[in-house]
């Protein structure tokens, strides 16, 4: 599902509420028939969230960042971490501090998580920010992969998706004063 709307319409707020970081004034978030506030740990095992702030530490290297994320989320480190980073165009940059990389490369380090998880629900806030055209295409291929495995994606973006997704739903938020 793609969430659209002008700046300030509340796209990020909506995503943060769905991810359980913020509380809604009204209503509940239900996942698999259970309220996420009551069963947050179960929900968290199925959730992958990448926000504006991606959770990539500038002092650590790309490889360390990926490993730390895997450890914190309870995944075993797969053997293909370097291959995923290579696929994302980070060859030779795996072991330099991330702060020395460009904005797009830093985002790619965060997005590497999409190749290494089995979360059912991906919540991505502006995943295409700072990515070049190739990166956008690569990312959409991975979206298709996630959907083919029966997962769901909730994302905000100002760009139109160039790949055609069969069951794409669009939610348009309006700005109200």
């Amino acid at each position: 599902m793609q969430v659209e709307g002008p700046n300030g319409a509340g796209k990020t707020s909506l995503l943060r509420i769905v991810a359980g970081f913020a509380n809604a004034d009204e209503g509940n978030v239900i996942f698999n028939g259970q309220s996420i506030t009551d069963h947050y740990d179960e929900f968290a095992t199925q959730l992958l969230f990448i926000g504006h702030k991606t959770g990539v530490n500038g002092q650590l290297t790309a490889y360390e960042n990926v490993c730390h994320w895997l450890d914190v989320h309870g995944y075993e480190r797969p053997t293909n971490i370097y291959e995923v980073l290579a696929k994302l165009g980070l060859v030779g940059l795996e072991d330099v501090p991330v702060r020395t990389l460009s904005a797009g490369q830093q985002r790619r380090v965060a997005l590497a998580r999409l190749w290494m998880n089995n979360a059912k629900l991906w919540i991505l806030d502006e995943p295409f920010t700072a990515l070049d055209k190739k990166g956008v295409i690569l990312l959409q291929q991975q979206f298709a992969q996630q959907l083919s495995l029966g997962g769901s994606i909730l994302l905000t973006t100002h760009q139109d998706l160039t790949t055609h997704f069969d069951d794409l739903k669009t939610l348009v938020l309006e700005y109200r004063h």
């Binding site: 943060r16 991810a19 359980g20 970081f21 913020a22 509380n23 740990d41 968290a44 095992t45 959730l47 992958l48 969230f49 926000g51 504006h52 702030k53 991606t54 959770g55 990539v56 530490n57 500038g58 002092q59 650590l60 360390e64 730390h68 994320w69 450890d71 914190v72 989320h73 309870g74 995944y75 075993e76 797969p78 290494m116 998880n117 089995n118």
Partner: protein, 228 residues
């Protein structure tokens, strides 16, 4: 993707990350220690280098200096993770947040409290502290500094969402340090009279036990409020 649920893996990952970061920016470890040293050397300059007077005041001075230098690193405990979004990732992890918090607090103690405990004998020399008091001072610091980290981290978690939370955090946290200060210095005083100071140490130990269990829960709730 294989899932390996292990609390130890999470604890170790968070602890190791904070230690790695501290060692990459060594100023973080060295600055509180230098501050500790400078505060201690200021006192003989200000009140005069009379050995008996210094020895009398040494426990108090060393403890107050320890309180203040612990405060220096506290703001950083959650600040960077809050700014780069790592905190959200920790909250959205399938693991309990208090466990990550415990690892972060212990990492803070390892990088600020532990070096102070190790350096204390040297600083005690500067203050002409009796060798008989040294063991009392080391024991109180060993039990007391982790306690300072736990209490302080609650304040750090509450103020991490504010732009300039540093001063507010000091105002919140320093009053909570008073009981630690009272029992620690009282233990050293008692030891100077050659009496048993096990009672004060036991109370400090009890406070540490309560803080180790309760503080991570309080910090987690504070962090969730700060993030939302």
């Amino acid at each position: 993707m294989k899932i390996s649920h292990s609390y130890w893996q999470l604890f170790y990952a968070v602890y190791k990350k904070d230690l790695t970061l501290a060692f990459r920016q060594r100023a973080e470890i060295v600055n509180p220690l230098l501050f500790f040293l400078i505060v201690i050397t200021l006192f003989p300059l200000a009140i005069g280098p009379e050995p008996a007077l210094l020895a009398r005041m040494a426990p108090g001075i060393i403890w107050v200096a320890a309180l203040l230098s612990t405060m220096l690193g506290l703001d950083k405990v959650f600040r960077d993770d809050f700014n780069d979004g790592s905190l959200e990732q920790l909250i959205a992890s399938a693991y309990p947040l208090p466990l990550s918090v415990l690892a972060k607090v212990l990492a803070h103690w390892t990088t600020t409290g532990l070096p102070m405990v190790l350096m204390a004998p040297v600083f005690a020399l500067l203050m002409n502290l009796d060798s008989q008091l040294l063991s009392a001072m080391l024991l109180t610091l060993l039990i007391g500094t982790p306690l300072l980290s736990f209490i302080g981290a609650i304040g750090a978690a509450l103020t991490v969402g504010l732009q300039k939370g540093g001063i507010l955090m000091s105002l919140l946290v320093l009053p909570l340090y008073i009981p630690v200060l009272i029992f620690a210095t009282s233990a050293i005083d008692t030891s100077s009279m050659s009496l048993a100071y096990g009672g004060q140490l036991a109370i400090l130990g009890a406070m540490l036990a309560v803080a180790a269990v309760m503080a991570p829960l309080a910090i987690s709730s504070a962090l969730k409020v700060s993030v939302s």
